[in-house]
Symmetry: C2
Amino acid sequence: MSEVATLCARARVAARQLAPRDRAAKDAALSAIAEGLRARTADVLAANALDLEEARARGTSSALLDRLALDPGRVSQMANAVAQIARLSDPVGHVLFESTRPNGVHVRRVSVPLGVVAMIYEARPNVTTDASALCLKAGNAVVLRGGSEAARSNAAIHAVIADALDACGLPRDAVQMLPPGNRDAIRELLQQTETVDLAIPRGGEGLIRFVQENARVPVIAHAKGVCHLYVDAGADVEMAARIAVNAKLQRPSACNALECLLVDAKDASRVLPPVVRALIDGGCEVRGCERTRALVQGVKQYLDRVIAVRVVDGIDAALDHVARFGSGHTEAICTRDVGHAERWRHEVDAACVVVNASTRLHDGGEFGMGAEIGTATGKLHWRGTMGLQGLTTFQWVVDGDGQVRA
Amino acid sequence: MSEVATLCARARVAARQLAPRDRAAKDAALSAIAEGLRARTADVLAANALDLEEARARGTSSALLDRLALDPGRVSQMANAVAQIARLSDPVGHVLFESTRPNGVHVRRVSVPLGVVAMIYEARPNVTTDASALCLKAGNAVVLRGGSEAARSNAAIHAVIADALDACGLPRDAVQMLPPGNRDAIRELLQQTETVDLAIPRGGEGLIRFVQENARVPVIAHAKGVCHLYVDAGADVEMAARIAVNAKLQRPSACNALECLLVDAKDASRVLPPVVRALIDGGCEVRGCERTRALVQGVKQYLDRVIAVRVVDGIDAALDHVARFGSGHTEAICTRDVGHAERWRHEVDAACVVVNASTRLHDGGEFGMGAEIGTATGKLHWRGTMGLQGLTTFQWVVDGDGQVRA
């Protein structure tokens, strides 16, 4: 058996041992991981310093260096995030459906762990602790494959996690880490249909496409968002400007940030100038369609950090635009028309539809669900912000006293 | 665009039109399909006669001919099944989670149609109506690809369905049928990631493997079951025999039929002889392990229509056996030990775990859920008997009055 297959087989055995453990056992291990991170911050930072040194020597961009860099504050934040996951309620054992049948058999559909999750990611070392903690809390084993640029940092963090599992009597094999290297190991990991239940890629478009094209195991992709805000005729202009500015500029790098503003032609001369002005005042460069440029002076056509603006002929055209160009992530409408709001909710095919609020609210924390492993952009199994519940599956449980099929 | 890509693109457009339609519109179309099948029974039977003639000329096995053959009674059953699906409650629009956040935003997770389902199946023409009706009821478009042996029957049924959709003002493109031919068209269908949301293969192991190996779209496989019954020490022997006979013999060709009986060595001399006797009396040939053969006279080792019997050392060995040899479909225990029952529920990783009842009860009808499109043997999205609910996904709906992210 290859090294990858061996690691996955060990994770599978660990998953069987972990699945029946109760909440207290899992939470104790998470607390031990948080404590271990705090106690061994120096080890983690020393490993991170070597990663940074090598990355700098390779001429890595400052943006990537910033994502890679740890300091005592960031390690402490990682520990806090793990401790917070310990405090979330257990997603396992929930009764999702229950029925006593006429023959007396009791049928339930109960949430259970998924099994073995393969997590394939880049750069940020905090994904190592976040993903491990979320998977463990949901009763899963996890096989981690981080980016090679963070190899030493991830190995140091992994050592803390494995020791904490050991100390708490949970299988240390429940968190496996694939050694860094080229993508052949990822390709092999994605073929382990006997031992891996789910692959979650998080990173750039290239990585996600590679995973989707090479996977034989199921994949839940956390891909880019191309999010729209449609400002309806008659909308509250002040609200539209506030939402547009927040959705675009509160954190432009987030996948639920706004990429394109649509405005109904019927009301564009009233709506567009103040909304565009608010975006420009907020530091955003605006790329407008021809109709937009006719209405707003100073909107240029081809710029770098931009929001696209298009004037469309009413809600049907807006729905068509979103169906064609949207990525199915988060799509918002700003409207005072109850019927249009209802059409938006029913006719937009996206993980999250938003009426009169910012796309940036599509988030596990904002929804009160706690930490998220990402935002699923496919439709199967889980959609949108994905936390502990998305890391479980379910099983039917039939309890009888001798019933057979008639 | 190729023919396959064109059909899928048309299904995608139809799915967008279908998704917001209410229950009454969908049920009217299903009723019209049922009426159409009854009214045009002669057309369907004439097409079926040609399929049968060609199949006979090709020397098709009588078992396959029987699965292919329609008569007025079978067409009427198909119509009844569609009418029954019309009476099931709408799986779309259920609120799965709801929360009003501190900032006043109202968050819901609501069930919505999946979109476009590709159904790839063999032989039985009733799958054409069942799958179409289930997909339509859940608000989905469906692309059907039946076996070439049933091509004319399926085309006649498809004409009835398309006309019924037309007559009821639903898009006729919502049910597409790929022309029969070689597997190249299936391979192409499985690559349509832009337009197809889910592929469901139903048929022999060869077809399912082909789909899994060639799919770029998500797949929910409905594969074979290798189901076990473990008879614990101290079990009610009369109950164990009744369950074993029903699970094995009530319908041996079903995927939830029993394949292997496990008996605890501690109690095998009491349990095994009467249970095996009941199976043999029921017409089953029994293949026993060495320890079984030592306990029961007349058990042969290698026979054709068989149940395998193995004596194991207690529940741990039974759990290990099931983890290694089970297919994750349906696994039963017969026991009087409450602790062992609880371990079975928690430690068996299968779509359905059964305590003191027949594996044959794992069924949409028996669970009170109505018609099933199959039994999902994977863990993602849906598991076990899969009906309308498994043909939906969900979407987050955020309603605000101007809230932005802090």
